[in-house]
Amino acid sequence: MDRNGAIMAIDLIFQAYGYAVMAPADVSFIEALQSGKLYEAYVLSNVVADLVDRGFNVTFQPAAVGAPAAFAFKGGAGIIDLNDAHFVINLPRSQTLRLLVDIEFDGLGSTRGTVADYSLRHELDIVVTEATAGYPAHHEIFLGVECKAVANFEKSIVKEVLGVRREMSLLASRRRSRLSKLSLVPPVIVPASPASEMWLAYIDDRGDDYMDSPRQFGIELRNLVP
């Protein structure tokens, strides 16, 4: 292949892409895909598979109205509404946790003084929580997952996730996570109080170069490649 052949190949690739994205014919939909909404579905599937592997009994709870076979993501984060499709994690003695998407939670900062502005809440793409309505408190979150579908991983992502982690829990001595206390295997140890777990899922394997320090704060980096 020479220069002209390569440039021609690039033009053909973009032509094929152009034809393919014209089919859905809605700019908002394509923008949402480009911002990673479909990747969130893939990460959610991985979270469900991981919970099942850890011995949890997970069941799908369809939406109360609308499309019963579909699991819907939202354009932005908001409150817990159990009428939306979600997953139920059944525990012994009739306890339950719920796996939900696109949720905002009340941050730890609000427990230490008056917080009445936009800094009160922070978004998580995927959560496991004991809360059943409204905005969960930071101490009601058992697992929080951030999904980053950016083609090029950057250090600023780590800074952002460290900030969200700070609003979920205090740095503390290492202990078994609340979630892993409820399962048989394997124990997950986090240096956090409350002992929530946190994942950062990303597509670019350069994220692997930023694992060590977040791990000291109980953030697990997972390169989930589509």
Binding site: R3, I10, A72, K74, D204
Partner: protein
């Protein structure tokens, strides 16, 4: 091909990426490295830069590809013993209260052909022997 050829191909790729909203994939700052001893930043050599940008473009396509929807549905149904979602939807706000616009992620674009061509191009560039392009005159290199 030589560095001049790779720079010309890179320029075309960056322009095309910008035209489809993949501005971040085209940003030069993603393709530079810092020398840990001197702190100096340098761009990757043109061929490495081109290969890295093609990889990033493939990641950009992968998150829009219908195949990812189908893979996610399959993964979740294999994990669960009982009922599982048959598809994923996306609810976007509308200009009428209480009526979000519903899109099926199962109707994401089919990008198999584009990604196959992209991988083929990447392989050709990776395996290129570094000889100057014989047709550079047509592009003024």
């Amino acid at each position: 091909m030589d560095d001049g050829d790779y720079r010309a191909i890179l320029e075309t790729l960056r322009l095309r990426l910008q035209s489809v909203g993949a501005v971040d994939v085209a940003r030069e700052r993603h393709y530079q490295r810092r020398n840990p001893e001197t702190g100096e930043l340098t761009l990757l050599p043109p061929k490495e830069q081109l290969l890295a940008m093609l990889d990033a473009f493939d990641r950009f396509l992968s998150i829009q590809d219908r195949a990812l929807h189908d893979k996610s549905v399959r993964l979740i149904s294999e994990a669960l013993e009982g009922d599982a979602p048959e598809r994923f939807d996306l609810l976007l706000p509308s200009d009428r209260a209480g009526e979000p616009r519903r899109f099926s992620l199962a109707k994401a674009p089919d990008l198999e052909e584009a990604r196959l061509m992209l991988r083929k191009l990447r392989g050709s560039i990776r395996d290129d022997d570094g000889e100057p392009s014989s047709s550079r005159g047509r592009h003024g290199g």
